[in-house]
Every structure is written in C-alpha cells, then in structure tokens.
C-alpha cells in the first residue's frame, strides 16, 4: 500500500489538539484607492521620475560642457582629455589592452579585502565585548592606530608581504580600525538595552552573542559594511599606487608617469563605475538582511 507523499516543506502549522492560528496577513485584501490617494500616488511617481531625469541631465550636461570646452580650446585637452576621447580609448583599452583584466584584479582585491576586514573586525569587536579586560587594555592602542596615517605603513607592508599581498595589508589597515570601532559601539549600546532579558533567564555569553548581539547588530553591520567598502577601496588603490604591477591604481599611476591623460581618465571612470556597483550590491544585501530579520518596519 502506498501512502500519499508528505509535503515536508510545509510549515508545521497546527500542533495536534490546538486550534490553528488564523494566518492573518494585514495587507492581503487591499481597500479600493480613493481618488485623492490616487492623485497623491501619481504626484509621487512624477516626482521620482523628475528627480531621476534631472540626475541624468546633469551628467549629460557636464559631459557636454567638458567636450565643448575641449573642442573649442577653452581648456587644453592634453591636460583635461575629453569625453569622446575617453570613450574611444576605453574601447581601445578593453579590446586590445588589459583594462578589464586590471579592473578584475582591483575588484577581486576589494572583495577579499572587505571580507577579511569585516570578519577580522567583527571577531575583534566580539572579543572586546566578551572580555572587558581585553577591551580596556587594547583601547589606547586602537585609538593610536586609528589616528596613524596608514599610508605611512606602505613600505613596511611591501617589505613584509611582497607586491601582491601588501595590497591586502594596506586595505585591511585602512578599513579595520573603523570597522572594529563601529561594531563595538553598536555592541555596547545593545549590551546596555537588550541583554537584561537574557540575564533574567540566566543565559551564557555564547547564548547572548548568538541570540541577541549578532541578530540585533544587523542594521549596524550594514552601516559598517557601507563605510568599509569605501575605505577598503581606498586601501586597495593606495596599495596599488605604492607597489603593484596590476590593477586600476597601477594604471592610474602609470598613465600619470607617461603623461597619458586618457589612460588616467578611463581608469578613474572605471573606478567610479566599480564604486557604484559595489554600493548597489551592498544596498541589495542590506535590504535582504533587513527583511530576513524583520526590520522592514
């Protein structure tokens, strides 16, 4: 005799003997929209459209001004380059040159740098929360390290880590301190307000960490990640300036040295594009996490 297949994925809604909770979904049956509300929605939509259009126009206007200024020789295009030239050298560099390879190198370095400094920063912040002693002892060191211009460490990283890994050294050096400080200050705030209940149940530190500190830190993690992305990119480019033989930072320095403004401009544009993509990805991850942890309001 064969039994009907059991749908394992279904939620165990009703526990035997207990009445099933009616799954109340607040916004399921939408009320009809009033004309005034519809007008309001239309106005809002038009506003958003207008803002986006203005942004595009501003960009187009600036590019046009740049192009015209260079063509009419208001400025020296040897020094400023011009959009059309940048575009054609972009095509050249992607098809014949290694622009994409260099972009990939920098992108990968940035990703690894972000992952490493977020992970290490979070671990250190957890250590500081776990042991008040450790945090008290290490506090002045953190403050000093934060104030120290990390670029000054460039030669040291180069000698210790070589031309490839020194870039990670620089990226982490620049972003980790702020990461630690932001996550730790979030933890401190939480410890003041959210742990009392856990204490009343006699929770261990590990339980507090897993059940409160980490999930409650999600908004703070996302804010930290946003800051971290910018700083890590600064570190990566700085590292490439100082020592590397590949990446957008290397291209920019190289282009400057051989006085090829086009190469410099193209690389800078690529870098800008990369920041935009990185920011978009972080935002997307942030929204996903916020939804997962019920923060959507």
């Amino acid at each position: 005799m064969s039994l009907p297949p059991v749908d394992e994925t279904k939620e165990p809604a009703a526990i035997s003997g207990l009445p099933e909770a009616p799954s109340a979904r607040p916004q399921s049956n939408e009320a009809p929209k009033s004309p005034a509300y519809r007008r309001y929605l239309k106005r809002q939509r038009r506003r958003t459209l207008f803002i986006q259009l203005s942004r595009l126009l501003l960009l187009a206007g600036l590019l046009a001004l740049w192009e015209i200024a260079a063509r009419l020789r208001w400025v020296d295009s040897m020094l400023t380059s011009k959009p059309s030239q940048i575009f054609s050298s972009f095509r050249e560099l992607t098809v014949e040159g290694d622009l994409l390879k260099h972009t990939w190198t920098t992108g990968l370095e940035m990703l690894v740098g972000i992952a490493l400094s977020m992970a290490a920063g979070t671990l250190i912040a957890i250590l500081f929360w776990w042991s008040t002693y450790a945090s008290k002892i290490l506090e002045p060191y953190i403050v000093v390290l934060n104030a120290l211009p990390k670029v000054a460490l460039g030669p040291i990283f180069y000698i210790w880590l070589g031309d490839r890994y020194s870039i990670y050294g620089m990226a982490i050096a620049i972003s980790i301190i702020v990461t630690i400080m932001m996550i730790e200050s979030g933890f401190k705030e939480l410890a003041k307000t959210k742990l009392k209940l856990m204490e009343s149940f006699g929770a261990t530190r590990l339980q507090m960490l897993k059940m409160v500190m980490l999930p409650a830190s999600v908004p703070n993690f996302i804010a930290t990640l946003k800051v971290n992305v910018g700083l890590t990119l600064v570190g990566v480019i700085m590292g490439e300036f100082l020592s590397s033989k590949a990446g957008l930072g290397y291209l920019i320095i190289y282009g400057g040295q051989v006085f090829q403004m086009n190469l410099v401009m193209v690389s800078v544009c690529m870098l800008a594009l990369m920041s935009v993509v990185a920011y978009g990805v972080v935002n997307w991850i942030g929204n996903l996490l916020m939804k997962k942890y019920h923060y959507e309001g």
Partner: protein, 261 residues
C-alpha cells in the same frame, strides 16, 4: 513545610560607581511561603526593581543573604521567572519565537515549549499573532506576550515588575484577574511590584510598603476579606475592607513621600 520558599536575611545592597555609592536597600527581612502572593509598593526609585533582581539572582547582595528553598542564591535560578518592567521583545524574531527565548536559553524541550506558548497565546486572545512581528502589536499586547514568555519557561516563582503599567485601565483589570487566576491555580509563588495601591491590595495575600532610600519594609498588611478568599481582584475592589486597606497604605506611603520632599 518549615522552609520558606523565598527568604531574605538582613539583606542590603549598594550600587558602586567610581564617583559615588548609592545605598538602595538596607536591612531587608522577608519570608515568602510557597504559594503565597505578595505585593510591594513604594515610592519610585526606592529599590523595588533592585529587590526583584536580588531574588532572581541577577544581583548579589552587598550584605546579608538571599535563599530560595533554604539554599543560598548563586546565579540565576531556572525556578524563577522574572517579568521585567520593559517588555524587551526582540524585533528580529516573530511573536512565537520571542516566546521561546527563555525555553531556548534554558534548553527546555522545544516542542513542548512551543505547544505551551501557542496555548497561552490563544488564552490571552493573541491566537492570530504568533507570526506577527512585535512592532505590529499594541502596548497591551506586547505586555501580554512578555508575560507568556515568562510562563513558558515554567518557573515556580514569578517576579512581576510593574507588569501592567503600560496598559489601559480596562485591559489592566482584565489581565490582573487573569494573572491572579493563573498564579493561584498553578500554586505559584509570586512577588508583584507596583505603583498602584488597589492593584497591590486586590492581587496579593500580603502587601509590603517600602520606605524611601535606603529602603526597608516599613509596614506589612495581611489582606483578608470577610467575603472569602476566592474573590477575583475585580470583586475585591468592592469588598468591605478594601477602602480601609487603601487608606492605611496610602497614609504610610504619603509619610515617605512627604518626608522625601
């Protein structure tokens, strides 16, 4: 049955900070029998929450000792359920998984805890809200969820720190009846801290009044109604001796407040 369930022997507690010392409690002597329900009233800031934290084991007394069932309190005991003044619902968990926080921490069987949580939710008129987020609940509903969360961990001793303060008057009276019924029915020992004198009188077998800081108990009233012991808190408000108790406690409290100003 000689050993009281909760005993405080000459307990004192001072808060220390680098700048100063605050003596919150002094010479507290208290015995609570199993199944007894006591209320504590006192001016705000006199140390009522502090006293509950001592019983729960979250704070260690500076002087004297706190005993549960004749044993010295050493850390938080699973026999104690502490309903804090603030609801502390976690907004990253839905209502049901908020209810299971205590069970999770104390490693109580998940399935049993869940069953109990759903049953109690239903009973408090929150049946449809198991999978809502706490931010979708009203103040009164949140408070009820906090109460259920305390009960799910199955404590013998309940500590209630102004549990109804966030509620509107009507919900407050209904919930007081309900809580009183549950606690009496299950034979739990309870300490209720409140600002509300009628609430203190109608819920408890005994009302203790605290003086201002450094606080100690200045008076104790055994609450006995001629109408019988089985009145609900709601009915007690109309019982004969209610006004008498109220006036007595009011005067006692008034003396502390007046001498404070």
């Amino acid at each position: 049955m000689g050993v009281p369930q909760i005993e405080m022997r000459d307990v004192g507690l001072s808060y220390f900070s680098p700048k100063h010392e605050t003596e919150a409690l002094r010479d507290i002597r208290l015995e609570v029998k199993a199944g007894e329900f006591i209320s504590i009233v006192g001016p705000s800031g006199c140390g009522k929450s502090t006293l509950l934290s001592l019983v729960s084991g979250m704070l260690k007394p500076t002087r004297g000792e706190v005993l549960l069932m004749g044993e010295r309190v050493n850390g938080v005991s699973p026999r104690v359920g502490y309903m804090l003044q603030h609801d502390h619902l976690f907004e990253w968990r839905d209502v049901l998984s908020n209810l299971l926080v205590g069970a999770e921490v104390r490693r109580i069987d998940k399935k049993k805890a869940k069953e109990k949580a759903l049953y109690l939710l239903e009973r408090y008129g929150l049946g449809g809200f198991a999978h809502h987020s706490p931010s979708q609940l009203s103040g009164g509903m949140r408070q009820r969820v906090a109460l259920v969360r305390t009960l799910v961990a199955e404590p013998d001793i309940l500590l209630l720190d102004e549990p109804f303060s966030a509620l509107d008057f009507q919900t407050r009276l209904t919930l007081a009846d309900d809580v009183h019924h549950i606690i009496k029915e299950q034979g739990k020992t309870a300490i209720l801290v409140t600002h509300d004198i009628p609430e203190a009188i109608t819920m408890a077998d005994r009302v203790l009044v605290m003086s201002k800081r450094p606080s100690t108990f200045s008076a104790s009233y055994d609450i006995v109604f001629d109408e019988g012991p089985d009145l609900t808190p709601w009915r007690k408000r109309e019982a004969g001796r209610f006004q008498e108790y109220f006036n007595g406690i009011w005067k006692e409290l008034d003396a502390h407040v007046a001498s404070a100003g």
